[in-house]
C-alpha cells in the first residue's frame, strides 16, 4: 500500500471521530432541551414540590 493510503485513512478517521463527537453533542443537547420543554409544558417546575 502507498503512503498516501495511510495519510488519507488517518485524516478520514480523525474527521469521522471529531464529527461524531460534534454530532453526539448536538443531538444530546437537543434531546435534553426538548425533554425539559415537555416537562415545563406539563406544568412541572421546581415549585411543584411546594404545591
Amino acid at each position: 500500500m502507498s503512503h498516501g493510503f495511510f495519510i488519507a485513512f488517518s485524516y478520514i478517521v480523525t474527521a469521522l471521530v471529531v464529527a461524531g463527537l460534534i454530532l453526539r453533542a448536538v443531538i444530546d443537547h437537543r434531546m435534553q432541551v426538548r425533554a425539559l420543554a415537555e416537562l415545563e409544558a406539563r406544568g412541572v417546575g421546581r415549585r411543584s414540590r411546594r404545591g
Binding site: I7, S10, V13, T14, D28, H29, Q32, L36, L39, R49
Partner: protein, 246 residues
C-alpha cells in the same frame, strides 16, 4: 469570583455566550493549520509526506492527557468540595478524552506501518496509551452503570484519581524505558527539535484541536446540567402523581 462562576445558572449564561466564539475560533485555527500542513509545510527528509499524520497524532496525544487532567482536577472538586459543576465537568470530559486517545492510537498505528514496518509494538509508550484508552472506557462504563448522578460522580472520581497514575507513565515512558517510540520533540528542556516550518503548523493545529475540545467540553457540561434538571423535574412529577393517587 470562582464561586460565582461555579454557580450552574451563571455557568449556563457565561458558557452560552462563550461557546460560539470558542467553536468559531477552533474551526478557524484547525482550517488554517491544516492549510499550512497541506500547502506550506515541507515533507520530512526521512518520513516524506507521511509526516502529515503527525499533525493529527501529536495534538491528539496531548489532548488525551489534557482531558485526563481536566477529569482528575474535576474529580478532586467532586471529592473535596462536592461541587455539582465538578461532577458535570468530569462527565463531559470523558468521551472527549477517549475520542482523542482513540485518534492518537489509530493515527499512530497508521504512521507506524509505513515507517516502522508494523502497526503495533508492545513498547512502553504504546502500551501505556492503550491502558489510557481502557481507563477512559472504564470511566465511561461506570458513568452509565450508576444511575444516581452524585453517587456515580464519587465512584468515577476515585477511579479517575487512581487512573491518573498512568498520566506520568505515558509522558515519561519514552525516557524511563528503551522504546521504539521516539522521545519528546516539542516539550523539552533544551527546546523543540522540530524545524519552525513544521512546528508552527503543528502548534496551530494543536491549539485548534484544544479549542475544539474546550468547545465540546463546554457544550457537554451545558447538556449535562440540562439532563440533571430533566431528571429532577421527572422525579418531582412522579412524586406529585404519587401524592395525587394517594
Amino acid at each position: 469570583m470562582i464561586r460565582e462562576l461555579a454557580n450552574p445558572t451563571r455557568f449556563m449564561s457565561l458558557s452560552g455566550t462563550l461557546l460560539p466564539w470558542v467553536g468559531g475560533l477552533a474551526a478557524l485555527l484547525v482550517a488554517a493549520g491544516l492549510y499550512m500542513v497541506w500547502f506550506v509545510a515541507p515533507a520530512d527528509y526521512q518520513q516524506g509526506e507521511t509526516v502529515k499524520i503527525m499533525y493529527l497524532h501529536v495534538p491528539a496525544a496531548w489532548l488525551s492527557l489534557f482531558f485526563y487532567m481536566v477529569m482528575a482536577s474535576s474529580a478532586l472538586g467532586t471529592l473535596v468540595w462536592r461541587h455539582p459543576l465538578a461532577d458535570v465537568s468530569q462527565k463531559a470530559a470523558a468521551p472527549i478524552g477517549a475520542a482523542f486517545t482513540l485518534i492518537c492510537l489509530v493515527t499512530g498505528s497508521l504512521w507506524g506501518k509505513p515507517m516502522w514496518g508494523t502497526y503495533w509494538q508492545w513498547d512502553a509508550r504504546l502500551t501505556s496509551m492503550l491502558v489510557m484508552l481502557l481507563i477512559y472506557l472504564g470511566i465511561l462504563a461506570l458513568w452509565r452503570a450508576i444511575e444516581e448522578p452524585n453517587r456515580a460522580a464519587r465512584a468515577v472520581s476515585i477511579l479517575t484519581l487512581v487512573g491518573a497514575v498512568n498520566v506520568p507513565i505515558v509522558k515519561f515512558s519514552v525516557d524511563w524505558w528503551n522504546t521504539l517510540h521516539q522521545p519528546a520533540s516539542v516539550f523539552r528542556i533544551d527546546g523543540p527539535t522540530i524545524h519552525t516550518s513544521m512546528l508552527v503548523p503543528l502548534l496551530i493545529v494543536a491549539v485548534g484541536f484544544t479549542l475544539t475540545g474546550v468547545a465540546l467540553h463546554l457544550a457537554g457540561m451545558r447538556t449535562e446540567i440540562l439532563r440533571r434538571r430533566v431528571r429532577t423535574l421527572t422525579i418531582l412529577e412522579a412524586e406529585r402523581l404519587d401524592a395525587q393517587a394517594a
